[in-house]
Structures are given as C-alpha cells and as structure tokens.
C-alpha cells in the first residue's frame, strides 16, 4: 500500500519548499483566472485573453531591460494593450478579432525588440525562456503576497460589476436596453483580465495563463448552463489540474531524460485539455441518452 503511495507521490513532495509555494500559488492563480475565464468564454474573448499574455510578455522583457521588476512591466503593458483593444476594436465580433490581432502584432513586435536589446545590452540570454514559458517552481515566497493582492483586486472588481457584466456578455442589446453602460463594463472587464493575466503569466508562465483561463471554463460551460455554477466547476478543474500537474512534475524528476524533470506547464495544460474533452464527451452522451 505504501509502495503504491510512494510511486504516485515521490518522497519529500509535501515537505518540499518550492513545491509548497508552487501549490499555493497555482491554487490562488487558478481561482482568479478560472473565474475570469468563464466570463471570457461567454464573451468570446479567448483571443484577447491570450493576447494580453503575450503583450504582457513584451512588457516583462521591457521591464527587465530597464531594470524594473517584470510584474510591473507585464501589468502596465497588458493594461495598455487592453486599452488599445478597446479603443481600436468595436462591438462587432469580427472587427474586434481584427483589432486584437493588430494590437497583438504590435505587442509581439515590441517583445522582439526588447528581447533583442536584452540579449545585446543586459546579456540576459535566458530571458526568452523565462518570459515566454515561465516556471512555476522558480517563484520566490516573496511574490505570494503580491499574487494574492493582485488576484483579490481583480476578483473584487469583477464581483462589483458581475450582474451588468454577465448581462451584457449574454446579450448586448438587452443590457443596453436596461441601461447598462456596456462599453464601460467591457473596459473594466478587460482591465481585470489584464491584471489576472499578468499575474498568472508571472506566476505560471504565459502558456499556463491562457490554458487556465480558457480550458477549465470551456469544460465547465459544457457541463452546466448556469454561469454561477460554471465558475465553481471551472475553479475546481483548474485547481485540480494545477495540483496534479505540480505533483507529476515533481515525480518526473526521476523520469527520463534523467535529472531534468518535465515542465509543470506541460502536465497542467494536458490535464486541462483532457478535462475539457471529457466534459465535452460527457455532455454529448447525456444529451443523446434516450
């Protein structure tokens, strides 16, 4: 019995410092991001959510250049990106898609420039990897309070505008008819999204940011029609995937190619995608049952 347990959870897992931080951080991030994810999926703004992560990456590398902490660079540029998307894009789905694409292109172009200058001037050649792929085990415990604070702020903002936001996401016209300031609410949502994405990027890397934002929420919305329930299910999927992912990453230290360990982001992403596929299959099957 204990042999099986030891096979699943390699020794020292729960006592390991970085692991504890990774678990804590991923839990907090999962909570914040998956809640926002439900709104994002409903609004059809998955592209914006992903773009803010990449644009934030540009900000992060720019910050490294100037010597400022990457979080602020991330956050500032992500906010600027969100603002640009709001200004440039309109309400229609297609032109919003185009506007997001343009802003993302400009942002990634900047990232190219900053990374280039980084490697030339500051000689931080690992910068590309850190910013774009991130590592959940490389977070210091000092970041935890910041993570919690920013996360709480984003969630509070969303909670404050929850009803008008949900209404305008489900039916723009209905919301406008009821006096909701659709554009204002949309803008505030993007700001909260920028904060959450910057947070998750720094804590877990750009890939995980998008994966945790979209995957659990998409899966939850296949299982339930009620947005409130979807937030809970989404958070559950996100936290479960992150924790199991961290566990597997820790275990993989002993797997080939030896000594390395596989990246946690790989496991977490695969788990969220599997969760989505399972939810989707389950939903189809229960619908077809006579």
């Amino acid at each position: 019995m204990s042999a099986v347990a030891r096979a699943i959870v390699e020794p020292g897992f729960f006592e390991n410092g970085p692991v504890q931080i990774a678990l804590a951080v991923s839990a907090v991030v999962s909570l914040v991001v998956s809640a926002l994810g439900v709104i994002t999926v409903i609004r059809g703004q998955a592209f914006a959510g992903h773009s803010l992560a990449d644009i934030g990456a540009a900000g992060g590398s720019g910050a490294l250049l100037v010597g400022v902490g990457p979080l602020w660079g991330f956050f500032l540029l992500a906010l600027a990106g969100a603002g640009a998307m709001e200004l440039v894009g309109a309400d229609r789905r297609r032109s919003r898609d185009l506007a997001t694409g343009i802003v993302l292109g400009a942002g990634l172009g900047l990232a190219a420039l900053f990374l280039y200058l980084d490697s030339r001037l500051a000689n931080a050649s690992g910068a590309t990897s850190t910013i774009l792929f991130g590592s959940i085990f490389a977070i210091s415990s000092a970041t935890i309070p910041v993570v919690i604070a920013v996360g709480a702020a984003a969630l509070t903002l969303i909670a404050a505008i929850y009803r008008p936001l949900l209404l305008s996401s489900l039916s723009r016209d209905l919301a406008a008819a009821r006096g909701v300031r659709v554009r204002l609410v949309g803008g505030l949502y993007l700001a909260a999204l920028a904060a959450a994405v910057a947070l998750s990027c720094l804590a877990t890397g750009a890939i995980l940011s998008t994966a945790l934002l979209i995957g659990p929420a998409a899966g939850a919305l296949r299982l339930t029609r009620r947005p409130g329930m979807a937030v809970i299910v989404s958070a559950a999927i996100a936290i479960a995937s992150s924790c199991v992912g961290v566990l597997l990453a820790y275990d993989s230290y002993y797997w080939p190619p030896a000594g390395h360990g596989w990246p946690a982001s790989f496991f977490i992403v695969v788990l969220t995608v599997l969760a989505y596929l399972a939810a989707s299959a389950f939903a189809s099957r229960t619908r077809r049952a006579a």
Partner: protein, 292 residues
C-alpha cells in the same frame, strides 16, 4: 387570390400550379425532444405559404430538413419529384442569421454573383452574361441602385433584398426564407413582404416564409402552415387561424382575436420566467439561463 377551395385543416392541398415541394409525415426528434411530429404539406409553384410558429416551435428545424441539413427520423421530403436527402444547389435560401460586417470588402453585386455559382471550385472569368444576370436579379428586387454599395453598410431591409436577389439569381423553383422580417422596422417589413408577393407571382416560385407573427404576411399569403407542439395545421388563414383549430393544435385553450384586420393569437400562460439566450452558433440550441 386564394383559391378558396374547401379543405380540411391538416391536409395541404395546393390551390393550383405544379407541385414543387412535398413534405410527408416528417418527424424530428432531437435530444429526446420531439420537435416535429408528422408534418405533412405541399407547396405549388406561384404559391406563397407562411410558416408560422412561436420561437422554438420548430420552424428552423423544418426548413433545415427541407434543405437537407437535418435528417428527419420519419417521413420524406420530395422536391420537383426527387427525394431530398443531402444539401444541393437547387433551392434558394435566405437564412435567419447572417453577419455582414460593415468593413467587409464585398459589394451587393459581388454577393449576388456568388449566388450564381459560389459553391463551385475553380476560378471563373468575369463575363458580360454574368454581369447582366446579376444586374437583372438586383433589378427584380428593386436594388439595382445598390449594386456598388458595401453589403455591410446597407440597411436591414436593403440587405434582405440583396439576399433575396442572391437566392433567386439562379432561378430556383423553391425559395425558403427564415424569419426575414425579424429585425426590420414596420415599413421595411411591408416593403419586403410586398416584394416577395410580387416575385412569387412573376417568377412562379414556390415560397415558404417563416415568421413568428402572422400579421405582416396576411396581405400576400396564399395559405398558412401553423406549427405548434410539433404538429402542423395547413390551410387558408380563415381555416387555420381559429380558436377551435389552434386549440386542437396546441392541446390547450387558445383565443384568437381579430381587430381591424389584424390577428392576435393568445396561447395562454406558461412562458419561461427566465431569459434564454443562445450561446454559440451550432444550431444545436445551447442556451444559457439567466434567472432574475
């Protein structure tokens, strides 16, 4: 106008003209819900029939079955003598939902040209014959002056006209329109209705228009196909839109009020208390619920 031939509500005998469409005993079940039950009717050339029913009554489903986009569990669809099982090119169709971006680089004439052979592979050379066909289709719907305008910048009524031209440019025998009046204001709706009535006669097309409100169609409808509870009642307005026939159809008491030539069907209590909004566009009717 209407043949005035006495028919029993439920049997769709066309008033004259060649039969173009015959739907026989079509039943459709989706996710254990019986959307349509034994729908039977036929449509003749030069006849305009209104497909009336509340939202969710199965109008779009019926149209999709006719188009070959959905399969009926039971029953057949015969168009021009040939059984229909798959989508093909011979039916004119104006869909309910379409998104014509204002910035889209497509003029009205381009959209109509796509109606000629838009589904064929390979390139074609522009020719005078094609241009003339497009022009005459636009003329027939009274939209010739809009030929060079961006489709996305046209008003709702103008877009409907262009879409009708697109659907008719190849001279089909059957034209289906899914809720064409839904987003139009009163005067635009009246214009489109008058246009459709005229085109039906002139071109001898069989036309089936779905709507949730029967009133705008009253001036031009030859017969009505009323859908409720998955079942259909067919006949003239006087035959079908009556308290007794509709009560039988709905399965509970229904009142029909007539005032100044307008009809109001009061189907009774029991509407959903929440707001149902459809998320996504896959035609499988996924809806999110928002309860007040």
């Amino acid at each position: 106008m209407t043949a005035g031939r006495a028919t029993t509500a439920g049997e769709g005998v066309p008033p004259g003209g060649e039969e173009v469409l015959r739907v026989d005993g079509v039943s459709v079940t989706i996710d254990t819900r019986e959307i349509l039950r034994g729908v039977t009717f036929s449509l003749a050339a030069g006849e305009l029939v209104g497909l009336i029913g509340a939202n969710g009554a199965g109008k779009t489903t019926l149209l999709r079955v006719i188009l070959g986009l959905a399969t009926a569990n039971v029953g057949t669809v015969v168009i021009d003598g040939a059984a229909r099982t798959r989508p093909g090119a011979s039916i004119g169709y104006v869909p309910q939902k379409f998104e014509l971006d204002p910035d889209m680089p497509l003029r009205a004439r381009d959209l109509v040209a796509l109606g000629i052979d838009g589904e064929r592979y390979g390139l074609t050379l522009p020719s005078r014959a094609r241009r003339e066909r497009v022009r005459s289709a636009l003329r027939a719907v009274g939209a010739e002056h809009l030929a060079q305008a961006r489709v996305g910048e046209l008003s709702g009524g103008e877009q409907q006209r262009v879409l009708i031209a697109h659907a008719l440019v190849r001279g089909p025998r059957l034209l289906l329109l899914d809720e064409p009046l839904a987003n139009l204001d009163l005067s635009a709706a009246q214009e489109v209705v008058a246009l459709l009535g005229r085109l039906t006669r002139e071109r001898q097309v069989a036309v089936l228009i779905s709507a949730h409100d029967i009133n705008p169609l009253l001036p031009v409808m030859d017969r009505v196909l009323y859908l409720a509870n998955g079942r259909a009642a067919v006949g003239t307005t006087d035959e079908v839109v009556r308290a007794d026939s509709l009560s039988a159809l709905y399965g509970h008491h229904v009142d029909v009020l007539r005032l100044h030539g307008r009809v109001l069907v009061v189907a009774g209590p029991g509407d959903a208390s929440g707001v149902d909004i459809t998320l996504g566009d896959h035609g499988d009717g996924e809806a999110l619920e928002l309860h007040e």
